[in-house]
Amino acid sequence: MSGGPAVRVSIESQCERQVQEVSLDGLETYVPPLSMSQNLAKLAQRIDFDQSSDSEQESREPRSALKFQPSLWPWDSVRNNLRSALTEMCVLHDVLSVLKDKKYMALDPVSQDPSTPQVFQLISKKKSLATAAQLLLKGAEKLTKSLAENQEQRRQRDFNSELLRLRSQWKLRKLGHKILGDLSYRSAGSLFPHHGTFEVIKNTDIDLDKKVPDDYCPLNVQIPSDLEGSAYIKVSIQKQSADIGDLGTVSLFRRQPKAKPASQMWHLKLEAAQNVLLCKEIFAQLSREAVQIKSQIPHIVVKNQILSQPFPGLQLSISLCHSTGEKKIQRASPDKSKPDDHLYVLEHNLHQLIREFHKQTLSSVVMPHPASSPFGHKRLRLAGPMAYDKAEISSLQQSEGLLEKIIKQAKHIFLRSRSIQLQLNIGVEQIRVVHRDGRVVTLSHQEQELQDFLLSQMSQHQVHAVQQLAKVMGWHVLSFSNHVGLGPIESIGNASAITVASPSGEHTISVRNGPESGCKVLVQFPRSQAKELLKSDVLQEGRWTHLRGPYREVHWGRMEGRNFVYKMELLMAALTPCP
């Protein structure tokens, strides 16, 4: 209906069929198109037969003005749209052709927003980033600060808990900023003038981020320099006296005892230092006494050794062995060939004695009553009012010093070791007895066995004693038997017997000693002294009367003497007339 030439428009309907089904292999099955009769049926269904033709007439009238009836033409909307599109396109075409001439119309670019320069963008980005970064940094700083504080607190807590542990075992006091401690025995009664002060040092400077060493401890102690290392008092008894050149060079050191695993390093250090101090005190006391006390054989004090002679030919050496642990003693000590003859018992006793001495200064006997009187033993305070003389006062004083006591103990040990005949090795199930002459006897656990064995040994020992005594007194041993076959049978062991003759031959003593039957002593006198012998004609000469005659028993229980040996000695002496 437009003025221009008709435009041919091609229309094609989309003849798309609906997909009825898609099989499993992807084949699509379309809904078959409706056939003619089906289509007709479909359309017929749409007809509303109720509406009569009257309504058709009525509607036709107002619509007769219209050129076309839209209800009969389904492509109407399409046509309208196309028409308007064509109109638009024609207009556009016209406008563009007019613009081409540039006479009546011109193009002007539309004003755009001014674009922000690159530099400005950069600066603003930088600022915003900087603000964000600052916030993050602040947060990070706070976190690191709190972490560092936690670490520091942990270190401090560790230090404080260690300090608490230290305080539970050692005396501490605060002096200004320093924490000092006392490791001496002064509060336990010692009068040694060493101060014994140690200092507690904080050791919290280590970096907890790095690997912590295994023996790290936040607390360290600094001990006085002269108490470093470890020490012990070596007490030994030698048969021969040492060379003069070897005096004062005792340096044999024994290995350290294993430390308890639970104890801290500071505890070990402090204990070692305290031990050194105690050894020094013991040695100082001993050397003071050695110099002051007058004895028959003077004691020698050389450097770190005290030498004395309890018996002639026997030497007791007490020395203070202090090793600072810095350099090992390279020189082979002359004692190395001998086994370690250090007497642990005497060293222990020295420690006990000095502690006893400490306790005495603290005993309540020293405390003053009335309170204004000076400290001192309460019995000594009576010396004035009771008018004690010098002898009484000296009896009140400490009679024996440390040195004398130790010498006495050494003497006892020596004598004991000299006179031991048997050595008892007490095992778990058996007792092994080693005799001095090499015999070994194994006994079971029953104590009766041991008792019986000891009884039998005792009786044998007495007979042996007679043998020794005879040697000393000059008597001759005529017969000696450890196990006699005569006489009553003993239930324990065997009886032993010995017969000894006097130097002049006039008397003999015969001893039979059994563990059960006891001791029987018989003495044989010369015939001349036997009154009950009848004179006979067989013996013509008088010299036969000097021969020994009958035996007489001795009432051993009535003999004078403290023990068997004394009695025997007395008997022998009595039977040996003076020339």
Binding site: R173, R186, S187, A188, G189, L191, L362, S363, S364, M367, P368, H369, P370, A371, S372, S373, P374, F375, K378, R381, L382, A383, G384, P385, M386
Partner: protein
């Protein structure tokens, strides 16, 4: 015996100085904490309690100050001897020295001391009873005592406290010429500081 002989004795070689470092006092309610601290600081012993009866004798001479002697006996240990003490004037020495130093003569006496002093011309000026505890640290003696007034002369059963506090005395006996122990005493007094302040007391001010 007269004052001259006594003075001769005093000037002989065996005099001893008594250094009274300090005297302080502590109220009754603070006694427990003080005793606790002393137990910790002093030598490790059981605390020793005492109860003493002290008599102060004066001999009034013709000139100057009367001569004073103190006799003390223990009420807990009646068989222990009496203790007679003479304390001289404070030594005039270093003013900065923190301790009070006096001459001291201590003598143990038998139980006939009061009669003996009476015969000599001394008259009892006053008496009191002191009860408390004694501590020691090395050579130092710390005495914490409560002073009780004797109501009837010679009757030590009937007493009443002189004050509501205990007197604390720290002292050392040292031979003449040696007074460097004051350093130890000063540090000891420091350690008692907040509980009791031990100070040097001038006896002349009290007389």
């Amino acid at each position: 015996l007269s004052i001259d002989t006594i003075c001769k004795v005093l000037s002989s070689n065996f005099t001893v100085l008594l250094i009274f470092f300090g005297t302080g006092s502590v109220l009754d309610q603070s006694l427990e904490s003080l005793l606790h601290r002393l137990r910790g600081l002093c030598d490790n012993m059981e605390p020793e309690s005492f109860a003493d009866h002290e008599l102060v004798y004066l001999l009034k001479g013709q000139q100057g100050n009367p001569f004073m002697l103190r006799g003390r006996r223990s009420l807990l240990h009646p068989t222990a001897p009496w203790h007679l003490r003479y304390l001289g004037q404070p030594e005039v020495g270093d003013k900065s020295r923190h301790a009070l130093v006096r001459n001291c003569v201590d003598v143990a006496a038998s139980h006939s001391l009061p009669e003996f002093l009476n015969e000599m011309g001394f008259r009892m000026d006053h008496e009191f009873v002191a009860k408390g505890q004694v501590f020691r640290k090395g050579a130092m003696k710390v005495v914490v005592s409560k002073l009780l007034r004797v109501l009837a002369t010679g009757n030590t059963e009937n007493t009443e406290p002189l004050s509501l506090s205990y007197i604390v005395e720290l002292s050392v006996l040292a031979p003449a010429g040696q007074d460097f122990v004051s350093e130890d005493m000063r540090s000891f007094a420091e350690q008692l500081k907040p509980l009791v302040h031990l100070e040097k007391i001038d006896p002349k001010r009290l007389m």
